[in-house]
């Protein structure tokens, strides 16, 4: 329910409370006239007015509380691509028109077309229109419709109130100084007074919609001379405005953690013949080589969308069929295609065929949990043979005949049991082996070679380590964080990292290991970068390493302590992001993080950041640390800032809001359309 609640509430009420109160008073007073109106004019008048008023309130609420389409801040990893020398602008072609995407220093990505950064709310908003002080919210892609409908309905509502009030007063001209008339006079005068700017604003937005522009674009004069690639024609624009599906919220989404196992060796495409051969045993080794040659098939195999015919073809070689398993991955539907969990399960089982006993129970559990469907892996899954006869799978298509061929006594059992294994319907845990029939079952059995290319030994092993695990989703604790929350990896590294003792413990700590390895890698990279930087600064003052860097993201030469206004010996290269940032720095909310030294991902030494920070703090300091957790939920905490430049917009007092509104209205009125009234656009809070 609260999913569409946006930032409208944040920031101290704002002007919307005033607006709401005002409207309520108006309505209450108006209500008293309704009986008379119903009698005199038409009985339908009061219900229509009521509905209209309800509509106004609903749209107002949605415009206020709905997330405008806030883009979450980019994770650290994305920024890595945009190196030091990355340009401030990136050009992109939209329907034949070159549109510039600007690098957002606060959010760390190139702003998509039509996206803009709201300095009041300090986030980028998709299809940014403006920041409305009356609803105290950004108006953007998701809530522009409600804002527009609010304006429209409010206009009609006010016209209605004014008209009916006027009628009433005109009918009671002789009693003009009586209370009821006076009150009505007041009401109509107020509504008449406010009707004019509201009407003007509505007209303005109607014009914008017809031209397919946002307020931001109109005021900055983006498409004044040229072609607007975002317009679809007047009618289509209106249609899109009213009828398009509401785009989803990007921030604060419920995150579904799903476990994905990533276990080497990894498959490689045919281009690379060298498969990472992990020798597990002689028998396996030879098979691996075979597998590598057979991986040619990978690319040959088509991936139809329809579920495949399940029974495996007996003439396929084991390897080819194994490979086919991978390909049938998308032939899913209800048919649980070959899931590599199961395949990997096969291989370790094979590996341990000599001593499969301990594996057995795990296999049972894992098989049970993952519903293996082995066709005829010559698994020493005597383990598998064991308990799963009861599971008559929906897809028992296994060639039990192959089972008969196999020599090892457990194998037939395996195959039959595998054929009986049912597929779970859990999408993440389904495992099925299709087409995994060895061409030479005997040979396979004897070699006991596993399908080496399948990397998911881990799953089996996990269950080995934790024999009690039968829950499909918890084969192993690995990658819980990584699969879904990669930017948070650093945050997820548990503080206590004791070396694992047992196999089980090792598996339990796997996630920590992964995260630690990632962390370690980042540390290494950062160190490398620092070294490089130092080398560079010592060697020659690179033009890009200006003092104009945003401290949290760009490294500064350690000995470069200059006031931001002064120029270094070599100014940043023209056109580079740093140069443009320096000039445009006033318009940005800089992530001032002198403490970014605490963050492992900063690009360089921060000692010299203090002068910049001082300057930037005077601009729009948010005092936010450059902690890796960029997610918006913690952004409202700094709340509305000490940002001096946004102060006028920001006050919640009515007195300032009125002039603001008036100024907006004035600017709007003075030129319709605008041309280059950039200064006034400041009041909209949208522009930079």
């Amino acid at each position: 329910m609260v999913s569409w609640m946006g930032s409208g509430i944040v920031g101290g009420g704002g002007d919307w409370t005033l607006l709401l109160m005002f409207m309520n008073i108006l309505m209450c007073v108006f209500v008293f006239r309704c009986p008379w109106l119903a009698v005199t004019i038409c009985p339908a008048v009061p219900p229509c007015c009521a509905v209209l008023f309800l509509f106004v309130l609903a749209n107002f609420t949605m415009a206020t509380f709905m997330d405008a389409g806030v883009l979450p801040v980019a994770s650290e990893d994305e920024d890595k691509d945009d190196e030091f020398r990355a340009p401030l602008y990136k050009n992109v072609n939209v329907k034949g028109v070159q549109v510039r995407m600007k690098w957002c220093a606060s959010c760390h990505f190139y702003r998509p077309p039509r996206c803009s950064h709201c300095s009041i709310c300090d986030h980028c908003v998709e299809d940014f229109d403006h920041h409305c002080p009356w609803v105290n919210n950004c108006i953007g892609r998701r809530n522009y419709r409600y804002f527009f409908l609010f304006l429209l309905s409010l206009t009609f509502h006010m016209i209605g109130v004014f008209t009916f009030g006027l009628i009433y007063v005109l009918h009671h001209m002789d009693e003009l100084w009586k209370l009821h008339c006076t009150v009505t006079l007041v009401v109509i005068s107020i509504s008449g007074l406010f009707l004019i700017p509201v009407l003007g604003l509505t007209g303005f937005h109607l014009y914008l919609v017809s031209r397919g522009r946002t307020t931001n674009e109109q005021v900055t004069g983006k498409f004044q001379g040229g072609v607007n690639p975002f317009t679809r024609g007047c009618c289509n624009n209106l249609e899109h405005l009213v009828c398009s599906p509401i785009s989803p919220k990007y921030t604060a989404r419920p995150c579904r953690k799903a476990v994905i196992h990533i276990q080497p060796p990894f498959l490689r495409p045919e281009i690379e013949r060298q498969m990472p051969v992990k020798v597990r045993g002689n028998g396996i080794q030879s098979l691996q080589n075979k597998v590598s040659t057979k991986t040619v098939k990978l690319s040959d195999i088509k991936q139809p969308k329809t579920p495949p015919p399940l029974p495996p073809k007996p003439d396929h070689g084991l390897l080819k069929s194994q490979v086919a398993l991978l390909k049938t991955s998308d032939q899913q539907g209800s048919n649980k295609g070959p899931d590599l969990h199961s395949e990997s399960k096969g291989s370790p089982v094979r590996c341990s065929q000599q001593a499969s006993l301990p594996v057995q129970p795990s296999l049972q559990t894992s098989a049970a949990s993952s519903s293996l469907q082995l066709n005829s892996l010559p698994l020493n899954s005597r383990s598998l043979t064991l308990k799963h006869t009861s599971r008559s799978g929906s897809k028992s298509q296994l060639p039990a005949m192959h089972a008969d061929n196999l020599e090892s006594s457990p194998l037939p059992g395996i195959l039959s049991s595998s054929s009986l294994l049912a597929n779970h319907n859990t999408s993440s845990s389904s495992i099925s082996y299709d087409n995994v029939i060895p061409a030479d079952p005997q040979a396979m059995a004897q070699r006991g070679a596993p399908p080496v290319s399948y990397p998911h030994h881990f799953m089996t092993l996990g269950t080995d380590g934790n024999l009690q695990r039968s829950h499909p989703r918890t084969y192993s604790p690995v990658f819980m964080g990584i699969s879904r929350q990669s930017p948070h990896l650093r945050d997820l590294i548990p503080p206590d990292m004791t070396p694992p003792l047992s196999a089980a413990a090792r598996y339990d700590n796997f996630s920590k290991a992964i995260m630690a390895s990632i962390h370690e890698r980042r540390e290494l990279e950062e160190r490398e970068r620092m070294l490089r930087r130092q080398v560079r600064t010592q060697a020659l003052f690179s033009p890009d390493m200006g003092i104009y860097d945003i401290p949290s993201r760009r490294s500064l030469p350690p000995d470069n302590i200059r006031p931001p206004g002064s120029r270094g010996p070599t100014p940043p290269a023209y056109g580079s992001r740093e140069f443009l940032m320096s000039t445009g720095v006033l318009g940005y909310n800089i992530r001032t993080s002198p403490l970014s030294s605490s963050s492992s991902l900063t690009h360089g030494p921060k000692t010299s950041s203090s002068p910049l920070q001082n300057s930037s703090s005077s601009l729009q300091s948010r005092g936010r640390s450059s902690s890796p957790a960029y997610y918006p939920p913690e952004r409202p905490a700094p709340g509305f800032p000490s940002s001096t430049s946004t102060l006028p917009r920001f006050s919640s007092s009515s007195s300032s809001s009125a002039p603001l509104y008036a100024s907006y209205a004035n600017t709007k009125r003075s030129s319709l359309p605008y041309s280059g009234e950039g200064k006034d656009s400041v009041t909209l809070g949208a522009l930079k």
Partner: protein, 157 residues
Amino acid sequence: KAEFHNLQELRHSPSLVTKVFIQRDYSEGTMCRFQAKFPSELDNRIERTLLEETVKTLNSYYAEAEKIGGQSYLEGCLACATAYIIFLCMETRYEKVLRKISGFIQEQNEKIYAPRGLLLTDPIERGMRVLEISVFEDRGSGGSSPSSTMSSGSSAR
């Protein structure tokens, strides 16, 4: 136990090497599309066709979500008529498609990408700006034990 030792040696811990980002394709406006261009970093990790297929399917899902048609009209009218209270109870069409997409990505990860040491991240988590592909490398044999990495990691913190 011997078999456990065997199994332990077999296990290698992959580590995240890099992330490859597939950017949005804005050539048709602000509707959600991802570039079908195959990133060169993945040349030796995954077949071109697989990734392109995934991206194409994703694009088609997004196109379906953003389509203006009967259902979106109905949704809009219903929402208006109920003063938007319907949003409290009902899931919008876009959200439904997003769920489908998330399931699709999960499935693709399990079947195609994880075996190749790659991992797709649902674009919605990045604000639909990029399709992030995490690339993992097998960092070596059991020698690079988790304990060592963990200790180094903790000390670095």
